[in-house]
Symmetry: C2
């Protein structure tokens, strides 16, 4: 399984993905699910992937090589973020055209989903979720985040904390806490994590970081969060109901 979350706030964009992949319980390994395309001063795009790894890796290759559309468009030359989301959708459809029938014969479902965020010079910063069918939706100020993969464990904390006005560092903490809840409850989501941060209108990648077991900040965050939750529970008085 997978957990990826994208957050689009006033100050910018956060992309956070786990790296665990498995085909059965005895075939577990680590792959990146966060891909970045950057031309400083001109565009920064981030793509996160969930679903069948063969499908999602083929999609990324098509996006790199220009095989998604007949005119050879890639994420490095597509003119707008809306067209970039369409391009990802076209890539999924192309992989579906090539592989879905054969997968179906093996009883393998064709499943893949994507979060695409970024900005192209002169255009707005946007964040999209692209479905298996190639259609897509967009994050809005009312709901400034999108998730793919194992989304439920990490949703409550985001729903409580994140708004469009949340600062980038606070949003980053929120994303890490959301990931921590997912890591704790679902063994199919695992470290290390891949993180990318983009400041609105900067047109260059802010931070790209791999967070491992040894990461001091993430380790401290997990410890403080455990302690803080215990304190929050302890601060709620016991019910005075009698029985």
């Amino acid at each position: 399984m997978t957990y990826c979350v994208g957050m689009l706030v006033r100050d910018g964009l956060i992309a956070l993905a786990d790296t665990r992949t498995n085909a059965g319980v005895d075939h577990v390994s680590s792959v990146t699910k966060l891909h970045v395309w950057e031309q400083p001063g001109e565009r920064v795009l981030m793509l996160m992937t969930a679903g069948n790894l063969a499908i999602t890796q083929s999609v990324v290759s098509l996006l790199d090589e220009g095989g998604a559309m007949d005119d050879g468009t890639t994420l490095m030359n597509v003119p707008t973020m809306f067209e970039a989301a369409r391009l990802v959708g076209a890539a999924v459809r192309e992989v579906h055209r090539r592989d879905a029938e054969a997968l179906g014969k093996q009883g393998v479902d064709f499943v893949a989903s994507f979060l695409l965020g970024g900005q192209i010079a002169g255009r707005r910063l946007r964040l999209f979720m692209i479905y298996t069918a190639g259609n897509f939706i967009e994050a809005t100020p009312e709901t400034p985040y999108l998730q793919i993969g194992e989304t439920k464990y990490g949703k409550p904390i985001i729903d409580r904390v994140l708004t469009f006005e949340t600062g980038l560092r606070e949003a980053l903490k929120c994303a890490l806490l959301s990931m921590d809840s997912t890591l704790k409850s679902n063994i199919s989501v695992g470290l290390p994590l891949d993180l990318a941060i983009y400041e609105r209108d900067s047109l260059k990648l802010g931070l790209q970081r791999r967070i491992t077991e040894d990461d001091g900040y993430f380790g401290g965050l997990r410890k403080k969060w455990t302690d803080g939750l215990a304190a929050a529970v302890a601060n709620i008085p016991d019910p005075d109901w009698t029985w």
Copy 2:
């Protein structure tokens, strides 16, 4: 949808269920999913239900009327909790025998699951989860809780807080917090809630309570929890990563 959680700790048993039921978005109503059978001094059994309402209500009727097994056994005369769990399984299988084919013709999946907890005089307090197939598993000191329905949103807080040694009132708080996370993230789970508490070896129902929108304690818990989470997030320092 539904969210029900059962917790079996050293001091006793907690059962908490929401009441929302829906068949499509324009057919939403409230039903109890928590059923109690009690003969003070002799037995207390609690059953929570999730899944297709027609199926779960039929199961409850069979358990009341003795129609689950040929010998007319009911939850009021079954000799042990293990046999009670078997009886619930037999009731599901009987409803399956009667209704599954007709449901299948309408394209309706046969889905139902149950949490059964309680104690019979001279026997241990136990908590079971019964699946659609009528088979079942049991809560253990290592994993002292079971959930049915929309389980994921409310799992992280339980995983952090609850152990077998957690006191009954603390466990009750934890159950209510788990429900609160689910209520916040999934509109198909809704108030009021049904709560039942049983103290180990008491052989009488401790508390049975309907928690509505107006419940002062639950309202306060939700407010304090929101504030406590905000404080816990605020207490985590921002990452010192630079970009």
